[in-house]
């Protein structure tokens, strides 16, 4: 007798949203819409860059959020490595924030390339800021690859945590590249004692930072919960496979069948 019956479908699928995330999502959407309206309609063009200035309402905020994602990843990894705070949840948060950080880093490179082509005249150049941002993107892609390698969950989490902290070292260097070296990329505009942007331009860029941070938080929470659900699915799947094997064993003892004699498939390993 074989027991190939699918497990009973749960009456209600566990989701990743709740009231807080729904409110957060709506607030993020409103903030992004407001940024778009201020950036495209209200904010005037720039004396030097003309209409190209509107890219400043996306590119710096996206880059900052990428740094934020990698920062959360490094802090979560530290929390995992610290024995007193070690928990699978920190590892899940590190992985989720790295993924979101990589997504925003890719957006940074894309928007920067578009802006560069329009203002500098080239899609890409190997100056310190651009090179280090590409390096940052590459090392965190590698970090995500490392998270997918096999081994025990403990060993994988340890390797990933150490790698995340090492990868994060690129962030402050990238951030300070325009101060330390000659670059084609412009220097700091807002994060200085006397910001070199004013009026509607300053208001819009400030709002863009808030809007993209809210978007980051919303995406991160959902991705983190998906990671935890994957864990749950993995554990439940393993428990189910185990119970099926036990049932097969009981059935085989009662009435041997070719299916029961065949080698059982391995339990799925992530």
């Amino acid at each position: 007798m074989t027991t190939n019956a699918a497990p009973a479908a749960p009456s209600r699928h566990p989701g990743t949203g709740n009231l807080t995330t729904r409110v957060l999502g709506v607030v993020a959407l409103v903030a992004l819409a407001l940024t778009a309206w201020l950036g495209l309609v209200v904010s005037p063009p720039d004396v030097v860059q003309g209409q190209l200035v509107r890219l400043i309402y996306v590119h710096p905020a996206v880059a900052t959020v990428a740094y934020l994602g990698f920062g959360v990843c490094a802090l979560s990894s530290l929390a995992w490595l610290w024995p007193r705070t070690r928990s699978r949840r920190w590892d899940a948060l590190a992985g989720a924030s790295a993924e979101v950080g990589v997504m925003f880093c890719a957006l940074t490179l894309a928007t920067g390339s578009i802006w560069g082509r329009a203002s500098w005249g080239v899609w890409w150049t190997w100056d310190a800021r651009l090179t280090l941002t590409a390096l940052l993107f590459a090392v965190f892609i590698g970090y995500l690859g490392l998270r997918r390698t096999g081994g025990s969950p403990e060993g994988r989490a340890r390797r990933s945590a150490v790698a995340a902290i090492v990868c994060f070292l690129v962030v402050p260097v990238d951030r300070e590249a325009t101060n330390w070296w000659q670059t084609l990329h412009q220097g700091n505009t807002i994060t200085r004692s006397n910001p070199t942007i004013h009026g509607w331009q300053l208001a819009t860029i400030s709002l863009s930072f808030v809007a993209f941070c809210l978007l980051f938080a919303w995406v991160l929470i959902h991705r983190y919960r998906v990671e935890l659900l994957e864990d749950r699915y993995e554990h439940e799947g393993f428990a189910l496979a185990l119970s099926q094997r036990r049932a097969e064993g009981t059935g085989a003892a009662a009435s041997p069948s070719p299916e029961a004699a065949a080698p059982a498939p391995e339990a799925p390993v992530r």
Binding site: W120, A128, L146, G150, G151, Q182, Q186
Partner: protein, 160 residues
């Protein structure tokens, strides 16, 4: 009688193979990361320390630079001449001016008073460029029509 007996691998052998496959994936991932890091670090370090030479530095190092390719930085001076073969202009940095002949069309933000980074080399007394990159500053100034209007009365009253 010979019987083809291909039995499934034993459990320790299978787990050993799994371990090897996992280890192989880790090594490949590590090599890919190292290769990416190496390439990017090489590109970055070879360019980052001195991405360009300012006009005065380029003039001071002219003998050493010869006709080798380097990036030149300076602010565009008045007197840009466009013709079908390219663009001619002067760039200045720290009171040292360099005459530039460029063979390509400049980018849209190229104009007098803007800092530029050029790719090219010395060609006798001038710098032969094949690429102009506009280096806009970190300063942003709104251009709106009301600004001049609001300043006009002040200018008119303060005029002698």
């Amino acid at each position: 009688m010979a019987v083809d007996t291909i039995s499934p691998p034993s459990q320790p052998l299978r787990s050993r193979r799994g371990w090897l496959a996992s280890r192989r994936r880790q090594v490949v991932a590590g090599l890919v990361i190292l290769a990416a890091l190496g390439f990017l670090a090489f590109q970055g370090l070879s360019n980052a320390t001195q991405y360009f030479k300012t006009a005065d530095q380029a003039v001071a190092d002219k003998a050493r630079l010869g006709t080798s390719q380097f990036r030149l930085e300076g602010t565009v001076e008045p007197g840009i001449r466009h013709d079908p073969s390219g663009t001619e202009f002067d760039v200045i940095a720290n009171n040292v001016s360099v005459h530039v002949i460029d063979s390509q069309q400049p980018p849209q933000l190229f104009k007098v008073g803007i800092p530029v980074v050029l790719e090219g080399h010395w060609q006798g007394s001038y710098y032969s460029a094949f690429q102009i990159m506009v280096k806009h500053t970190a300063n942003y100034v709104e251009s709106h029509p009301d600004r001049l209007k609001s300043q006009l009365p002040t200018t008119a009253t303060s005029a002698p």
